[in-house]
């Protein structure tokens, strides 16, 4: 089943075309990696779909329904959650309160009977390393990202966008993230993840989408894309 489809999605900032006519699809159960050089337009692309910064033109279809230009809260209610590249917490709320916002107001308002319990489960699920009543403003970047993930999951998404979840992790810690990703995927949630750590991408993604200068340069199974010369040239560079 097709979860998400974009057709010629375009986003312009003044004269700059940050995303240029990108079409792609995500199928049920996919873990899609979105890669591309810095400033390629990945975050912008995700923002345009999730409603934070609506697209200039093009079309977004979510489970067969045209959702172009819907607001983030509408998208959330339809089952699309996301995390932020630059962590974006509720500074004066405790960790559990932050997660509760999503369990109460997210995609499944009626389903969650006990939001407190549910939020606690979510924090456990993402292996949040701190106490649940720590104030968000006291967390460091990595902890915040974990919290952000718990919040995104608490709203019962069908599709999850993750913007650079693994940045700042050491190789050892990558395995934690992989484990969590695996758990998420096993819940039947499809994932689109923006990531620069190739090690992680190669390990978990079944498909890749690579954009450069806002334009799609490759889409397909992971190995195929990773070996695509255009991708190597544009993204992986001489490092690989």
């Amino acid at each position: 089943m097709i979860v998400l489809e974009t057709q010629n999605l375009t986003k312009q900032f003044g004269g700059l075309t940050a995303v240029n006519a990108v079409s792609m699809t995500i199928n049920q159960g996919d873990i899609v990696g979105l890669i591309g050089p810095n400033g390629a337009g990945k975050t912008t692309f995700v923002n345009a779909i999730s409603g934070l910064n609506p697209p200039t033109s093009g079309k977004v279809t979510f489970f067969g329904e045209d959702t172009t230009g819907l607001t983030p809260e509408q998208m959330c209610k339809k089952g699309l959650s996301r995390t932020f590249q630059i962590p974006s917490p509720f500074p004066k709320m405790t960790a559990i309160e932050s997660v509760m916002t999503a369990s109460i107001f997210g995609n499944a308002p009626g389903v969650v009977k006990d939001p407190v319990q549910h939020s606690r489960e979510m924090l456990d699920f993402v292996e949040f390393p701190m106490a649940e009543d720590v104030l968000s403003e006291q967390l460091n970047t990595v902890q915040l990202k974990r919290l952000d993930l718990a919040r995104a999951l608490a709203s019962h998404p069908k599709l999850l966008f993750m913007d650079e979840m693994a940045s700042g992790l050491s190789e050892g810690e990558l395995s934690d993230i992989m484990r969590i990703l695996d758990k998420i995927s096993r819940k039947g949630i499809s994932i689109l993840m923006i990531e620069h750590i190739m090690q992680l991408i190669m390990a978990v993604c079944n498909r890749l989408l690579c954009i450069q200068f806002g334009t799609k340069i490759a889409e397909g199974p992971t190995q195929e894309v990773a070996n695509d010369p255009r991708v190597t040239k544009a993204y992986l560079g001489s490092a690989d």
């Binding site: 050089p37 700042g168 050491s170 190789e171 050892g172 810690e173 620069h196 993204y235 490092a239």
Partner: protein
């Protein structure tokens, strides 16, 4: 000895993070600090840069005691800091940000030279000279932050997680540019998560855990250390 840290205690408010941390860096050396999240790597850097005043211990730079000096004086003494959060001037253009990096240099010509040096290093910045820093992508900002740090022609550069959020190609080029920098005689102290890469490019390393220095030694030795392998590389 260019930088000598003795028994440093530091933290935030009443919360102590660093406990008796001692490190030293020789002129021209390329030193790294690695360690798990929350170990206190950034705290160490911030303390050296003067953004946090230490609770105890001493820091000497070039034989001169700089413990507790305010950040701007430390910068004037030749230490540049590229922070994890980047701390860019979001409403200024790329070029203005870079020029601010050369704030302590008064000579216009030297400023220009530095600017060209940085633009050579990061052509993307040259392309986006007039864009506001606040509208740049995450990776672009990182480049700008490093570029700004280089503008003051420092003796010692403290670089906190430069690869954070950078595409592989750029990560490589950032490390390359640090290498170039080092060849020009700049001493570099690097904090990184990517232990393998870090230890393979630096001369010497410290492993920080729970605010204490756990191990230290030549990078190549650390890379082969069983403990490091187990904890950081998940091997």
């Amino acid at each position: 000895m260019l930088l000598e840290i003795k028994e440093l205690d530091a933290g935030y408010g009443y919360l102590q993070i660093l406990r008796k941390v001692s490190l030293n860096v020789d002129k021209g050396e390329y030193v790294c600090i690695v360690g798990p999240n929350g170990a206190g790597k950034s705290t160490t850097m911030k303390t050296i840069a003067g953004l946090i005043s230490p609770m105890a211990g001493s820091i000497t730079f070039n034989g001169e005691e700089i413990t507790g000096l305010p950040a701007y004086q430390i910068t004037q003494k030749g230490i540049a800091f590229v922070s994890e959060e980047m701390n860019l001037f979001v409403n200024m253009s790329v070029q203005e940000n870079l020029l601010m990096g050369a704030y302590i240099i008064r000579d216009k010509n030297v400023q220009k030279e530095r600017l060209e040096f940085v633009f050579d290093l990061f052509p993307r910045l040259a392309e986006r000279k007039t864009q506001l820093a606040g509208t740049m992508s995450g990776g672009e900002r990182k480049m700008l932050a490093i570029g700004r740090g280089m503008m003051s022609d420092p003796t010692l550069m403290l670089v906190d997680e430069p690869s954070f959020g950078l595409a592989p190609q750029l990560t490589a080029s950032v490390f390359e540019s640090l290498e170039v920098l080092r060849k020009t005689g700049v001493t570099i102290m690097l904090v990184e998560q990517n232990v393998t890469t870090t230890l393979s490019i630096t001369d010497r390393g410290y492993v920080l855990e729970n605010g204490k220095v756990g191990l230290e030694g030549k990078s190549s030795d650390l890379l082969n250390d069983a403990y490091v392998k187990k904890v950081f590389l998940g091997v």
